[in-house]
């Protein structure tokens, strides 16, 4: 199923890219016809569409995504190999922060329904869902970076940075971007978890659990959370997608050399091969992630795992 989708994406991307009006080589100084013809030949742009498509598929099978059109002698696949680990690192940190934080927050909110903790958590969640991540990123950068440093400079007359606000060179550098990127996930997860928990708390089996004399903690952990977590697992797919697209802007704001930043650049510079290659990569990655989530859900919910059992 997923394979079909990947194929569809590949085809779609290819044809869309090649339907682009305009010329990738316009924009720089005027190029003489002969050289243009050579360039066209080099990139294979002189052959008919069908043949180009097949050639592309062939190259793909060998892991060749072509060469960048703006960076000289830069293989697309090379860019991916270099920049993806950075983005993945950021993404994983953000995901862990967002999901675990969200689960915790959502649970606390549900257990304290309509009391201060609940209201507070809900407010936080609403903010996280309403304010775009990149705005949060920029604001956080401003407040914790510039304002703070300026204040320190004014008061203490030294240069001091509490948390780094740009680049990517150590653990401290990951804090702000992961926070900005993960905040949206935290909000969504906590809202979902809260609703799910409230639902579960009204279920009959919670009454049964209490009737056995279990402590509230035991009931919460082994009965409530275990069942409330199921809907959260289902959204892990879209959550990952959101984080992935979030990297496009967060990496730009925090000057992180990840794949997202490259993607944005290639879009702005009309580097077709890069755009195609990166799009394909992102799409395939996401489809793969969704596939993993489906499996995970089966593992977590015994009803799905074992189907309808015998009487």
């Amino acid at each position: 199923m997923s394979i079909v989708t990947v194929f569809v994406v590949i085809t779609l991307t290819f044809f869309l890219m090649n339907l682009m009006p305009g010329d990738p080589f316009i924009g720089n100084k005027a190029i003489p016809k002969a050289i243009k013809a050579n360039l066209y030949a080099k990139y294979g742009l002189d052959k008919p569409l069908g043949i180009r498509y097949l050639k592309y598929l062939g190259n793909l099978a060998q892991g060749d995504l072509g060469m960048s059109m703006t960076y000289k002698n830069q293989e697309v696949i090379g860019v991916i190999k270099q920049a993806f680990p950075v983005s993945a690192d950021l993404g994983i940190r953000s995901l862990i922060f967002g999901v675990l934080g969200g689960l915790l927050l959502g649970t606390i909110a549900a257990l304290n329904h309509n009391r201060p903790w609940d209201t507070g958590a809900t407010v936080l969640a609403i903010l996280g869902v309403s304010i775009p991540g990149f705005l949060i990123g920029t604001m956080v950068q401003y407040v914790l970076g510039f304002l703070f440093s300026n204040a320190v400079r004014e008061i203490f007359h030294t240069d001091f940075q509490l948390i780094p606000i740009a680049r990517w060179e150590g653990f401290k550098y990951t804090i702000l971007p992961a926070f900005a990127l993960g905040f949206g996930s935290l909000a969504t997860t906590s809202r979902l978890m809260r609703t799910s928990m409230l639902d579960v708390l009204h279920q009959d089996y919670i009454k049964t659990a209490k009737s056995k004399g279990l402590t509230p903690f035991q009931v919460t952990l082994k009965h409530s959370i275990r069942n409330a977590i199921l809907p959260v697992v289902t959204i892990l797919g879209p959550l990952t997608a959101g984080i992935m697209t979030g990297t496009f802007v967060i990496e730009r704001i925090f000057a992180i050399p990840g794949l997202g930043r490259f993607f944005v650049q290639s879009v702005q510079m009309y580097d077709y091969t890069m755009i195609m290659g990166l799009t394909l990569f992102f799409a395939t990655f996401l489809i793969f992630m969704n596939f993993l989530v489906d499996i995970a859900y089966g593992l977590v919910d015994p009803r799905i795992r074992l189907g309808k059992g015998a009487a």
């Binding site: 049964t208 209490k210 009737s211 056995k212 004399g213 069942n227 199921l230 074992l306 059992g309």
Partner: protein
């Protein structure tokens, strides 16, 4: 005396005001006795049961007044921690719908073990062995494999048996069964009831059965308490209530049971009307508006409890010495004369 309820009043605080679910219930239960709490939906029987377990929905529900003594201790004063120590260990509960009352993400075995580990401090492996024994006790075949299965892999009847196993696992002195057979097919109902009778005999557990099904009551109970509008309107031994009932509501209940030998022409005779809204309960007898024998005083003040015999009592103004003599329709009802004839009575 294992259990004693003394004038229990339970209310729920809703946004619209106070709903008086239970308005003064008292009864006792001895070790090994089986007592049935009968009544329509909304009469307060489930709430009474929940209060014995301390399981009233907080923060809305509370025991307004009265006392509940379990083994001589007033549990209405219990802290949560104290409740936790007796729930499952001294008092167990079997719930109505076995489909939703079992955690779908935990195996049956583990769900049985929880109580054992908590109250009897067993190790996990010992508890699992005992869980298997329990499954065998409730006559579930292939207990050894079943113990590792999930609720959705069990049939309805088996799930209810599993519930019974869970409730009985720590051998509590009292079991409260809240509509244990209502959600089951009729044939399965019979099986589960037989099982319960068998277990009660083996383990000498006291049982409170809550139901609206008079057939279930007849097959299991030694004593019966009829509830209506948050109050017990009649109580006595099984024969007392079934053959010599004295309260018009009980008459209505008995009359409304369809009989196998009734002809096609005879209509079913339900009790007309609906139960009172406990949000603003009537000042007098709760059954007054639906009662064929209603008198002036019934609407104005609550009837006190009158003893019909040593074991049998009813709360009805008809039993007042000055009340006009009424012939109990029970004889007619027992002989199958339902319908309009049973109601013509002075």
């Amino acid at each position: 005396m294992l259990l004693e309820l003394k004038d229990i009043k339970v209310s729920f605080d809703t946004y619209a005001g106070e709903v008086q679910a239970v308005r003064g219930v008292s009864f006792t239960l001895d070790k090994g006795e089986v007592v049935a709490l009968v009544g329509e939906s909304g009469c307060g029987k489930s709430v009474t049961a929940q209060s014995v377990m301390g399981l009233l929905a907080k923060p809305a529900g509370r025991v307004k007044s009265g006392a509940i003594f379990i083994d001589g201790v007033d549990v209405t004063k219990y802290t949560e921690k104290e409740w936790e120590s007796i729930r499952g260990a001294k008092v167990g509960m079997i719930f109505q719908d076995p489909m939703t009352s079992l955690n779908p993400t935990m195996t049956i075995g583990v769900q049985i073990c929880e109580g054992l580990i908590k109250h009897q401090h067993m190790s996990k492996s010992d508890a699992m062995k005992r869980a298997e024994e329990m499954l065998r006790l409730v006559e579930i075949p292939n207990a050894h494999e079943r113990v590792h299965q999930y609720p959705h892999e069990f049939s309805g009847g088996m799930r209810q048996r599993a519930m019974i196993a869970i409730a009985l696992s720590c051998n509590p002195a009292l079991i409260i069964a809240d509509e244990p057979t209502t959600a089951l097919d009729v044939t399965i109902q019979a099986q589960v009831l037989d099982l319960m009778k068998d277990l009660k005999r083996k383990l000498d557990t006291a049982v409170i059965i809550i139901t609206h099904d008079l057939g279930v009551v007849a097959s299991m109970a030694e004593r019966v308490m009829v509830m209506y509008g948050g109050l017990i309107v009649e109580s006595g031994k099984l024969e007392d209530v079934y053959y010599h009932a004295r309260h018009p509501y009980t008459w209505g209940l008995m009359k409304s049971i369809p009989r196998l030998d009734s002809t096609k022409e005879e209509e079913l005779s339900p009790i007309e009307g609906t139960p009172p809204d406990l949000f603003m309960p009537p000042p007098g007898c709760p059954f007054a508006d639906r009662c064929d024998w209603c008198m002036q005083i019934c609407k104005v003040s609550m009837p006190p409890k009158y003893a019909v015999s040593e074991s049998h009592s009813a709360c009805c103004w008809l039993l007042h010495p000055d009340a006009p003599k009424t012939e109990s329709p029970m004889a007619r009802i027992r002989h199958g004369m339902t319908g309009a004839e049973g109601a013509k009575n002075v």
